[in-house]
Symmetry: C2
Subunit: 453 residues, 2 copies
Amino acid sequence: MSDHSATRIRIDYGNTLDALDSKALDAALGRVRDAQSVLQQRSGPGSEFLGWVDLPAQARDALQPVQDTAERIRSQADVLIVIGIGGSYLGARAVIEALRPPFDSAGTQVLYAGHHIDGGYLRGLMDACADRRVALNVISKSGTTTEPALAFRVLRQWMEERYGRQEAAARIYATTDAQRGALRRVADEEGYTTFVIPDDVGGRFSVLTPVGLLPIAASGIDVAALLDGAVAMRETALLDDADRNPALRYAQLRDALYRSGKHIEVLASFHPPLTYVAEWWKQLFGESEGKDGKGIFPAAVSNTTDLHSMGQYIQDGERRLFETFLFSESVGTDIEVPSAVEDTDGLNFLAGSRFAEVNADALRGTALAHHEGGVPNATILLPGITPASIGALLYFFETAVALGGYALGVNPFDQPGVEAYKRNMFALLRKPGFEETRERLLARLSGNESISG
Amino acid sequence: MSDHSATRIRIDYGNTLDALDSKALDAALGRVRDAQSVLQQRSGPGSEFLGWVDLPAQARDALQPVQDTAERIRSQADVLIVIGIGGSYLGARAVIEALRPPFDSAGTQVLYAGHHIDGGYLRGLMDACADRRVALNVISKSGTTTEPALAFRVLRQWMEERYGRQEAAARIYATTDAQRGALRRVADEEGYTTFVIPDDVGGRFSVLTPVGLLPIAASGIDVAALLDGAVAMRETALLDDADRNPALRYAQLRDALYRSGKHIEVLASFHPPLTYVAEWWKQLFGESEGKDGKGIFPAAVSNTTDLHSMGQYIQDGERRLFETFLFSESVGTDIEVPSAVEDTDGLNFLAGSRFAEVNADALRGTALAHHEGGVPNATILLPGITPASIGALLYFFETAVALGGYALGVNPFDQPGVEAYKRNMFALLRKPGFEETRERLLARLSGNESISG
C-alpha cells in the first residue's frame, strides 16, 4: 500500500465562499449526504452499475493476469494500438499521458484507433507502424459499436496480412463481455487472449477494470500503485464529514454553485500532462449529469496556455461559470530559471527559481484574479503526479459525480442520449432494420436546404 | 490564385430556423450589417487593430522573405522549436496540425515551447532533440511575456552551448516588434534573422503575418495557397448579402441565438486534424467577445470521438447551447471498409464504403438528433482540408468575430482581462514594482484558508 500522503487530495475552496450563503451551502451538504446514503445503500437509479465502488481493491487482488499480459505485450511489441471509444479510450489515455514523460519513446508506446471515423488517420497509423512490432488491444463490450468495429476490421486484416493469422491472434488482445457479443465470438474463435468488461461497471467508470489497466500496464506504468491510490481514496470518500472527505466537499460546492446560477464548470489544470484527465473528466461529468434538461456544462482549459486564450472570457465574460483548478504540489522533473548576464527580458528576479514555483504563483495569481472578476473557484490539490495520486484522483471524481448526479435528481449511470445519433447514422447508412427512420430523416433533410455562401 | 471552388465555404443553417423567429433573424441581420459598416469605415472601437483586414493580399505580395527563410530552416533543421503563447502559438499550430498528414515525420517537424510553465516538458523536449538538428523561432511582441521569455532563456542557453554563440544565432529566428522591446534588442545584438509583428494586428488575428506564416512554411505547407484562400474569402466577406456571404450569415445566426438565450456555442469538428483549429477559434471568439460581462462561451468537441463523451450532455442536458459543425466535403487520403467473410460485427452493409462517407452520415445523423433534442445547429461546409480552404476558413472566422463583437457592443480587438492574472503572478513572484499588489494579495491569501480533505 502507498503511504497516506501520496494519495491525500485536498480542496481549497475559500474563493467560493462569498458566492454562497451558509443556507445554500447547508442545503447542498444535505443533498450530497443524502446522495451518499443512497449510494451506500444501493437504493438509487442505476444501482445495477455500482461495480466501480468496490472495484479498486478487487482489481488489486486480481491484477496478476493483467500484469502478465502487459509484460508479454511489452516483450512482443514496440507499439500497442488500443482500439476503443468513449470510456474504452479516455481512461487509459488520461492515465498514460499523465504519467509517461513527455516526448518519451522508451518501451512500448501506446497509440489509439477506433475513436473516430477518419480513414487518413488510420492509413497514417498503419504506415507509421510498418517498421515496428505491433500488438492490438481491441476494447468493446458488444463488438458492434461503429467506430471501433470499423477500425478493428481494417487493423485485424492488416495484422493478419502482416503476421499471418496465427501470429496475429497471439498479438491481438480483446477486452469485452464475458459471454455475449460479436467481439467475444471472434475472440473465442481466433483464440485471442481476453479480458472481461464487468456488467456492473459503465464505460466512463471502467478505467480501473482491464479496459484501462491493460493498456496502462503495457505502457509501463505501475498499475498496482494506481489501484492503491484508488483504494486509499475509497476509504476517504466514504466519510460523511466534508472537512475530511474532499469528494463530498467537491460535490457540495458544485451542487450549491449550480443552483446559484453557475451553469458552466471550467476544469483548469496547470499541468499539460493532465490534459486528457480533463477530457476523461468531461465525459464522466457530462455523461453522468447532463440529462433531463439539467446538468453543469463541463469545459476544460490547460494553463497557463489558455490564460492567453480563454482567460479573457473567464476573467470578464458572462458570469455564469465557476472554475475548478487542478494543481499538483510537487512535480517530477523540473528545471531552474537560468540567470542572464544582461537582464534584457527583466526576468533575473526569477533566476534560481524552479519552474514549478513560478507555476504555483501563476495558479495563485489566477485564482485571485478570477475570483475578483466574479468567478467563484476552488482548487483541487494533488500531492504529486504519480500513479498513486492519479488513482486517488480518478476515484475522487467518480465518487463526486455519483453524489452530484443523485443530488441533482438524475440517474448518474445511464447515457440514453448517446443512442440518438447512432440510430440516425445507421438509418442514413441504410443499415438493415432502420428503414422507417431513414424515410423520416430523408423527408426532414429534403425540407432543410438553407445554404449560404 | 486558387480557383473559386477550393475556397467556397457554405453554411447549412436549416436546423436553427425553428429556434428563431423572422423578427429575431431580421434584427440580428440589421446589427451585423451595421457592424459591417463600422468595420469598413474603421469607425468602431479598436479600429487601430484592423491590420488583419487587408493582410492576406499584402502578405501574399511580401511572401518571398518568409519562404526563403523557411527554406533555410528546412535545410538546416530536423526540428523547428516555436516559442510562443496565445496568438503566437495557436495559429501556426492550428494550420500545421490541419494540413500535415497524421504521424508524418518527413521534413522539418515543428514542436512547441513557451506556451506553459512546465519544466519537465522543456527538459523532455531538449532530450528528444539531442540527436536532431534544431532551429528556434521565438515569437513575442515585447519579449517579456513570462512563458515564452522563460522558455527562450533556457533554450537560447541550450542552443549556444550546443552550437556555439555564432552558429546558434544563425539558427534562431525572432518574430517581434519592428523597433521596440526586449526581444528586438537581443535579436539585433545577436544578429538573428527577424520578422516583424505589425502594430495594427492583434495576437489572435496574427496567423497570416510572419507569426504564423514562418513556422507554417517551415513545416512544408504551401503558404501562398493559404494566403490565396484568405484573399478569396476577403472578397466574399465584404458582401452585404447574407445569402452569398457566409461570414455575415454566421455572425447573424450567432447573434440571434445568443440573444434567444443560447449562451454556449459548441464548435463540433468531424475531422480530428481540425482540433487545433477549434483551439484557435476558442481564443479568437472567447477573447474578442468575452468581456463587459457578455459573450457566448466557446467550447469545442472533436467528433465522432466526443459523441461518446460530451454527446450525452449536448443531446439531453441544459438547453442553453447551440452547435456549429465543421465538416469538409472532401478529404485527402481515405480508405474503404473491407468486406468480412463472416459478418460477425454486422458491418458488411458498409463494405466498400469509404470512411469519409460513413463520417458524412455520422454528421447528418448527429445534426438531426441534436436538433430534435433542442439544440439549434448550423454546419460550416468546407470544400476540402487544403491550404486554400483553411486560409479561407481562418479569414471567415476573423470577419465573423469582428462583426459579432461589434453587434454585441464590445471592442472585439482588445483583451483587458488577460492582464489581471499576470499582475497578480508578478506580485506573488516578487517582481520589482509590484510590492503594493503583493501586500494586498498576501492579506487575501492569509484570510483564505478553507481546505478540505
